[in-house]
């Protein structure tokens, strides 16, 4: 009986620690929502469009289509993303949720020409941009 009581006493602080770890892990889980998909093309070692607008505060799916025969590596330090896209291939990247602002990206294999910027717009500006460009 005493051993059981001692066991329970020992388990209680471990159980509390486990609950705390679980709570911390739950913070990392995203809210499930429909994702916006944006397309980026690589042609003649250039990104098209070179300026891409996305909504801030949401996770977005970026579809990168490489229309060149040679591979390219999409890289962005500010977005913390890097992905090799094989020649005439496509790749999928998930980005965000991003704070409003500008995020540079470039092609690692052709950094002089393949450059672009991703602009995350706050909600009001994004809705305005959507209305103006009929997404």
């Amino acid at each position: 009986m005493k051993n059981k009581e001692l066991k329970h006493k020992k388990l209680r602080p471990n159980h509390q620690k486990l609950v705390a770890v679980k709570a911390l892990l739950l913070l990392t889980l995203p809210v499930v929502a429909e994702q916006n998909v944006f397309e980026l093309r690589i042609k003649d070692h250039l990104f098209q469009p070179s300026v891409l607008y996305v909504p801030a505060g949401e996770k977005v799916k970026l579809l990168v289509l490489n229309q060149d025969p040679s591979p390219e590596e999409f890289e962005s330090f500010s977005l913390n993303r890097e992905k090799v896209i094989l020649g005439l291939g496509k790749a999928t990247l998930f980005i965000g949720p991003l704070a409003p602002g500008q995020y540079q990206f470039f092609g690692e294999y052709n950094p002089d020409s393949a450059q672009g910027v991703l602009i995350a717009l706050p909600e009001a500006e994004w809705l305005q941009h959507k209305a103006n460009h009929a997404y």
Binding site: T28, D68, P69, P71, F77, S78, L86, L93, Y109
Partner: protein
């Protein structure tokens, strides 16, 4: 494009050189055995990945290659834990962990150097850039080797900490790929140290190769890093006690 080649080669080879240097300090007496155990699996893995790269990249909605690389990074970490936990297989598992990393770096470099479209680069540029990048990486690794060898003699726990950091770096790389592929939730950004220590600076570049430094890590990465570091360090301490 010479400088681009140097940076590409250095970026891919430096983490591998640092890991090999760390492992060579550990298995100093059996270094020939370690290198032999490293070479054959490395070439085999690299061949398998390179020959099937197009097919792999098309799998699972285009994230096949990321998932494979994540698996290799995690395997590298797990093999290091096994090496520390079970000294009987330490040389083999250490060599295999380095082979996992080599297959990732090697496949990136093959893509850059050998595939079509590299006609813009002259062979001389590619050769010289590769030699320079490899040379710089090897030089840094040699310095790292001697630093670790001195530290290990003076205080073995410091070597264990550094080995754990090098091992946990692989988990950091895997987590970045999994987050990018939406296979791991990211969570909120924990800090932003880009202005203090940029990843593009020389020190940031070195710390990224050594410890997996991120200027903008997210919560899941930080939690994984702490957990994996603790586990590997515990394995190393256990190895020390059983010796």
């Amino acid at each position: 494009m010479l400088i681009n080649t140097v940076l590409m080669v250095l970026r891919e080879l430096l983490p591998l050189c640092l890991l090999l240097a760390t492992l060579l300090v550990w298995h100093r007496a059996l270094w020939r055995h370690l290198l032999w155990c490293f070479v054959l699996p490395s070439l085999l893995l690299l061949s398998l990945i390179s020959l099937n790269m197009v097919w792999i990249s098309e799998q699972l909605d285009g994230v096949g290659l990321e998932l494979l690389y994540s698996l290799l990074y995690i395997s590298c970490y797990v093999l290091l834990c096994i090496s520390a936990f079970n000294p009987g297989y330490a040389v083999w598992t250490s060599a295999l962990s380095a082979a996992c990393l080599f297959s990732i770096s090697g496949s990136h470099l093959l893509l850059y150097i050998w595939l079509p479209g590299q006609a813009d680069h002259t062979p001389a540029d590619l050769l010289l850039g590769s030699a320079l990048g490899a040379g710089i990486g090897a030089s840094i690794a040699v310095l790292w080797y001697y630093l670790l060898a001195e530290l290990k003699q003076w205080r073995s726990s410091s070597y264990q900490v550094l080995l754990s950091l090098v091992g946990t770096r692989q988990v950091m790389m895997a987590s970045a790929l999994l987050i990018q592929s939406d296979w791991l939730p990211a969570g909120p950004q924990v800090w932003h140290s880009e202005h203090g220590l940029s990843e593009q600076s020389e020190l940031g570049f070195f710390l990224q190769a050594l410890l997996g430094y991120e200027a903008t890590p997210v919560l899941s990465q930080l939690l994984l890093y702490l957990l994996c570091f603790t586990l590997l360090f515990w394995c190393c301490r256990l190895m020390e006690k059983t010796r």
